[in-house]
Subunit: 257 residues, 2 copies
């Protein structure tokens, strides 16, 4: 019985998010899709796959990490190749490696890095529709950068917690929060020890509100301290968001063959 | 009666190319789509739209130019806004301007610039599937650059002429032909006074054949001189190709209001 860790990339456009939805057999999720491929190596038996980030409907991944146990013995390159042969082409296994005992893609993760791309200005190029959000305004770049810096550190993010979440605490530590602009596109990267549901999209919603002048940075800081969802601007669209990387402690890390 | 010039961007994925296909009413083309929008300003009368480049099925545009005549008098910004309100979101009008007498988007064009993006290596990221081609090999970068240089100048491109074309001459002048690499992606830009059908994709097919070592640059030069389609490597996929820019003589050029 071997424990595995795989790195996945997917186009989230045509998935109802990562997680299997109980009783909803006609909804296409990434977890179901990966589990269906793995069932080929277990005589049809379900192999439960745990994802590091439970990405939402429409959210993409460049480096999602997932873990599972497999009875069948295979070389990592063989497992990767076989899975890519079975998976639809909007999901790819970028790497497969044996994982150390006790490894759990979500619980063992130290941090996750997300990237959001937001095209700004009157028009969005049609080719960007699937990979970037869009707001029709020009944003104040200095104000957006200050807001991104304000997010850094340990905060209670209750104001950004989406309804329906079932978390015990809304306190998270943001390790890095950086906004830059490239030709009218806001590129926002945020790394934290964990994220609440829709948290990144809400952080981006805050950047946009300040960037277009609806709120001052100080107003947004007060909205964060208020711990009240109604005080926070609306979240940005899912299509601009991608899970870029998941970081583990070195001992829990890459291939241990 | 005013003559107009508009600049268009589109995601070619869901179009059967630019050009209206006679008798084929259920095929979705960019020309039909733009003409359907314009019919709103002419009491349903067909307004024939000429495109600078007759882009093929699946080929994208970042700066296609089209011309047409319109009886109704409108301000350029008003026409642009109204068209974007009527068009599906995979086509956008980036600019609308009045054109000088005699302007014809295709015949007045001095040159067109196309860009091709080709991801190389074992896997393609799912988010890149619509915007870039993919070959599983690593390419020899120096060999690809030499091949791109070899394309420059005035040549008879009969070896690259796709069947079914109806051109009188297969001689074209390539003004610029440059290949560069960014993180495993080949980015090829080519500007010429005109292109044969599938010519850019065939030029890219040649880059790939030399880059992976199937042919030497000299073999490909001989294949060009042979003026024989069977001598040339297969064309690259449409999805990596985009019409970037069309250039006109200054007097035929931008807005003349």
């Amino acid at each position: 019985m071997g424990l595995w860790r795989i790195t996945l990339a997917y186009d989230g456009t045509d998935f109802a998010g990562w997680q299997t939805q109980a009783g909803a057999t006609r909804i296409r999720t990434v977890q179901d899709t990966v589990e269906a491929a793995l069932a080929h190596f277990s005589a049809g038996q379900r192999i439960v796959v745990v994802g590091a980030g439970r990405t939402d409907t429409g959210v993409h991944a460049l480096g999602q990490v997932a873990s599972f146990a497999l009875e069948k013995d295979m070389a990592p390159a063989e497992l990767q190749r076989a899975m890519n042969g079975l998976l639809p082409d909007d999901v790819r296994v970028l790497e497969a490696a044996r994982a150390p005992e006790g490894f759990h893609a979500r619980k063992s993760a130290l941090s996750k890095l997300y990237r959001y791309e937001m095209d700004t200005g009157p028009l969005q190029l049609p080719l960007r529709r699937r990979v970037a959000g869009h707001v029709p305004w020009r944003l104040d770049q200095a104000a957006v950068r200050s807001t991104a810096e304000m997010y850094c550190g340990r905060h209670d993010f209750a104001s950004l917690a989406s309804a329906g979440g079932s978390v015990t605490t809304t306190v998270r530590t943001v390790l890095r929060s950086e906004a830059r602009f490239a030709e009218g596109t806001l590129i926002y990267e945020v790394e934290a020890d964990g994220f609440l549901r829709k948290m990144v999209r809400s952080l981006v919603g805050g950047l946009v509100a300040v960037g277009r002048g609806t709120l001052a940075v100080e107003d947004l800081r007060r909205a964060l301290l208020a711990r009240d969802r109604r005080a926070w601007p609306p979240p940005a669209d899912a299509r601009g968001l991608a899970l870029v990387r998941v970081t583990y402690a070195p001992s829990r890390g890459p291939d241990v063959e």
